[in-house]
Symmetry: C2
Subunit: 283 residues, 2 copies
């Protein structure tokens, strides 16, 4: 048992999976969840993702050694503010938000000049589904997890956070918040932008002819719109930049198709396939 008490604020798919994983691996004596609504508290207890739940953030973080902020991106700075206020002075705080520069910058303004015990994290697991019912103790196993470091990150805090994610089976990489935002804009936010745009573009009357191709390519367009609007807009510069890169590649392929240039089309597709075939996540 590494921690006496771990508190998870926001126990949905990710927060719930973290809770299940902590309990399965016996990393904490007690896992406490903090909720906004009694109904989600009840669902998390039923899923056995936490040992105890509360609607009171003060009570929830009291005495915790590790606090995990697992609400939507746009809510994380405010959750951090409250957590910092009520936490033990040596408590380590991390989050699971999909953008980092915006979150980390906001949170670092809450601590005045001293090294702080907040460390940004982004475990890259999940699906288009939401809710603690879809939580799974092995969701983070082998998942990439980016942990961010700034000039103000306390050494003990980042070590605690890295070890924690590794204990859950994730593959940790450390980088700056802005490097995180650029990497993730390309590999995660852009695929979501593309999937939402594709589902938006295809007229509904053609859906009946859709099969595996449309299904997979648009799967993440079923994700929570408010959650993803928050992710895109808190990382807008990098998302916009990734979008322009994608537009150039798309235009090049469409031009070759329009010209009927079979050889050039095949060359573009071969390059894309070679890269995709190297991607082995979850296979």
């Amino acid at each position: 048992v590494r921690f006496k008490k771990i508190t998870i604020i926001g126990v949905g798919l990710i927060g719930g999976s973290i809770g299940l994983a902590i309990k399965k691996r016996r990393l904490a004596k007690e896992v406490v969840g903090v909720f906004r609504r009694p109904s989600t508290l009840k669902r998390a207890l039923k899923a056995k993702a936490i040992d105890k739940g509360t609607l009171d953030i003060k009570e929830g973080v009291k005495g915790a050694n590790l606090i995990i902020l697992a609400g939507p991106v746009s809510a994380i700075p405010a959750l951090a503010k409250a957590a910092i206020r009520y936490a033990k002075p040596d408590a380590v705080i991390t989050d699971v938000g999909s953008t980092k520069a915006w979150i980390v910058k906001k949170i670092e303004t809450y601590a005045s000049g001293r090294p702080i015990h907040f460390v940004g994290s982004h475990p890259m697991a999940g699906s288009e589904q939401t809710g603690v019912e879809f939580a799974a103790s092995e969701l983070l196993k082998d998942a990439p997890c980016i942990v961010t470091r700034t000039g103000r990150t306390a050494r003990r805090a980042i070590k605690t956070v890295i070890d924690f994610w590794r204990d859950l089976g994730a593959k940790v990489t450390v980088m700056s918040p802005s490097d995180h935002d650029r990497s993730v804009a390309l590999i995660s936010h852009l695929p979501h932008i593309v999937a939402f745009s594709l589902a938006g573009a295809v007229p509904a009357k053609f859906l009946r002819y859709g099969a595996e191709g449309f299904k997979d390519t648009t799967r993440v367009a079923s994700s929570d719109p408010n959650l993803w609007a928050g992710i895109f807009t808190t990382n807008k510069r990098e998302v916009a930049r990734s979008g322009r890169l994608f537009e150039r590649h798309l235009r090049k392929l469409l031009n070759a198709v329009s010209k009927g240039d079979n050889r050039k089309v095949a060359a573009i597709l071969s390059g894309a396939k070679a890269k995709r075939d190297k991607f082995t996540y979850g296979n």
Copy 2:
């Protein structure tokens, strides 16, 4: 037993699945495969997708009641020409090509003025995988299947083809070759264009941070480049048109993101999600 002999020319993933389905449902006394290479013939026999195989198209189609052209799109007109030449006069011929206007027009020029026994088909099943090893007798079950009709389509031939696909469990819709090409450009070719472009755009060094989102959105970018180059260029007008529609939707979303207009972004994503949630294929 509906047919004495069914011949499949090209026995890969789709052709092989058709063979397995025919045999499982006992729709033919004999299923014969026609091959270009002895190695693929051997693999198809091993997979039990056919009863008998030959490298000689003349021998293969001799006496067949139904002939299915299951090679790549660009090869189908030439296969049809040979099949028409050697087939019984009343044999019905169909194909499984992903574009139809180009194929059907070419084939109709081979018959001079009379109604012809060729009927274009497009069973929409398959995956990024190729080869008879991935064939499955239920691949076509519940799959959409478009059958095309023109002014020259013989009534008996189209009835035979529709009944055949229905016997295999597919959901048949009849339309003109050009309506097919427009529908499929949107619901199938466009997702492939987008997936290939996305895999092409993301620099390889970021692949290690990819998870489920990138994985699903780009899955079909692992498809056969030559096969898909042939599909795109034989349907270039409709693919280009679908591409432009997609580009407009993408630009609108990226503009809203760049402006940080959270409400507008959420509205666009909600519209896309609502449409995607209606899509129920294979769920």
